[in-house]
């Protein structure tokens, strides 16, 4: 079994998804607007399967999604990680945040830790991400991480997306 490592940033701990995160998944995916870019809205049973599948992804691929927990109050506020579902041509850096926690730079902070993990621990040359053209927030985040569009690709769902390559970030000052 893959052990899911803990990553720390200035304000966040990235840790393995746990049974106690079901409420977070349920609430996130119940909100049609907040989860619209993530396949939502989902019923609670589907959100539970999502939590289980996010754990299983680590077993199958050796990487996956973490839960983002705020260090100051240990509150779980979203998730971040790298996914590569079978049948998709490339892996993807991904992040999700409860709507009330957006706009504070948490997704960028977590993303930098995940990219660093991929480059240093997994020894990947780089990390990629992609998003729908209309997802301006994700595009801004990818650009903020220093991402550059390297190709345009049509995915198995028939949607054509820009694919960004994200460089390894500069070392963070010790948290």
């Amino acid at each position: 079994m893959t052990t899911i490592p803990h990553l720390k940033t200035e304000r966040l701990t990235l840790r393995a998804p746990a049974p106690s995160d079901f409420g977070l998944y349920r609430d996130f995916y119940a909100d049609a607007e907040g989860s619209g870019n993530y396949g939502g809205p989902l019923r609670s049973d589907q959100a539970y399967q999502k939590l289980c599948a996010d754990l299983g992804h680590w077993h199958l691929q050796g990487f996956g999604k973490w839960i983002m927990e705020r260090r100051e109050d240990n509150q779980a506020i979203g998730g971040c990680g790298i996914v590569h579902p079978i049948g998709w041509p490339s892996h993807e850096l991904t992040w999700w945040l409860m709507p009330e926690h957006r706009g504070h730079g948490y997704a960028a902070e977590a993303s930098r830790a995940v990219i660093r993990f991929a480059c240093q621990t997994l020894r990947w040359p780089n990390v990629e991400t992609h998003m729908r053209d209309e997802n301006a927030a994700a595009r801004r985040l990818a650009e903020g991480l220093g991402g550059k569009v390297v190709r345009r690709e049509t995915f198995p769902d028939g949607v054509t997306r820009d694919v960004f390559v994200l460089p390894e970030p500069e070392p963070e000052s010790a948290p």
Binding site: Y48, C52, P156
Partner: protein, 168 residues
């Protein structure tokens, strides 16, 4: 991990996915969320969820294999996702060529001994679609009793309650 006369039961692993996917994308999987209108990607995610269920609960679905060859034949084990009112014993057999040989009953008996014995359960149910005649017949071979008063995840389902197995 569990053993029977002909089978070994172990945690699911990545190598099971081809056989699982071949099953999941056929009509035989229609009672467990698969079917001919699904695809390999959904089968993969469903299998990932089966693996993650073990992390959440510490118990889950075993893959049962031909003990002699190691070939994975199907899944059988304990299943307790949201919104299940009770812990369930479930089973699937992936290749129709392996049906009718008593493998699922053999695996299920080992699972029942395990959950009532090692895990200390005092009861277990199986939720079965009334149209799933093969599964109902198997449950009956295991000695279940219909429990029409029990809550169920889908009101169309039948609830079958397993007796505590006699020690082997």
């Amino acid at each position: 991990m569990l053993e029977t006369a002909r089978l070994s039961l172990r945690k699911p692993q990545a190598g099971d996915i081809p056989a699982w996917t071949a099953f999941f994308c056929t009509d035989r999987a229609r009672f467990i969320g698969g079917g001919t209108d699904t695809d390999a990607g959904r089968a993969w995610r469903a299998f990932a969820a089966i693996m993650g269920h073990w992390d959440i609960h510490g118990f889950g679905t075993f893959t049962f294999c031909d003990k002699a060859t190691g070939q994975p034949l199907g899944g059988c084990g304990a299943w307790f996702p949201v919104p299940w009112p009770e812990r369930e014993i479930g089973w699937t057999i992936w290749n129709p060529e392996h049906e009718g040989k008593g493998y699922v009953a053999e695996a299920a008996r080992a699972v029942l001994l395990h959950v009532f014995g090692d895990l200390g359960w005092t009861t277990a149910v199986s939720y079965i679609d009334p149209a799933n005649a093969r599964s109902i017949a198997l449950a009956q071979r295991l000695g279940v009793a219909r429990d029409d008063a029990a809550e169920r995840p889908d009101r169309e389902d039948l609830v079958y309650r397993h007796p505590a197995p006699e020690a082997a």
